[in-house]
């Protein structure tokens, strides 16, 4: 296991919901990352975000770690969920609420 794998292991262990994104939640640097931030905020979930643009090793490492070639990436309770398209689809078909309940993640949908 490489150092970056160990680092990512720790990142997804430290928080229940972890978002690897381009930019920050306040200043996303890519439309897909912005969409994911929007969804997580809408769901009222607490999450930890990491800006891959600040860390080239993380930017490349997370793609290998998840076997997923794009960013953003979302982990919930150490489980890889996917990127923007999957999260959006889970929101639209209501699957995300069942999933969050199952994982014991607090959320409060903003009405």
């Amino acid at each position: 296991m490489t150092n970056i794998d160990k680092k990512i292991d720790t990142m997804i262990e430290n928080d229940d919901v972890v978002l690897f994104m381009k930019g920050t939640p306040d200043f996303p640097q890519c439309g897909f990352s912005a969409n994911v931030v929007g969804i997580l905020n809408y769901l009222g979930i607490n999450y930890q975000s990491y800006n891959v643009l600040d860390d080239i090793e993380l930017r490349e490492g997370i793609k290998v770690y998840s076997e997923w070639p794009t960013i953003p990436q979302i982990y919930i309770k150490k489980e890889f969920i996917g990127g923007c398209d999957i999260l959006k689809e889970m929101l639209e078909n209501g699957e995300i609420e069942d999933f969050l309940k199952e994982k014991n993640i607090n959320f409060k949908i903003k009405t």
Binding site: G31, F32, K63, E67, W68, P69, T70, F80, I81, G82, G83, C84, D85, I86, E89, M90
Partner: protein, 76 residues
Amino acid sequence: MTLSAQEITKLIKKKIPDAIIEVNDIRGDNNHYHAKIISQKFKGLSKLKQHKMVYEAIGSHMGTTLHALMLTTSES
């Protein structure tokens, strides 16, 4: 270097021959696409695995010659 919608379709078709594929250039810049893919091969697979299969088809183009690819996959 960018990929055309036809090239993306061809790459996916190679990996998933039965796929019905629609690729739209959402910004008209040869760099941001939305691919809708229907294939029997997706049957019984999670969305994660379905999308992974498509990414495998695109291979190293993803993130290099192809910047953004929105995916919508289904089995029918």
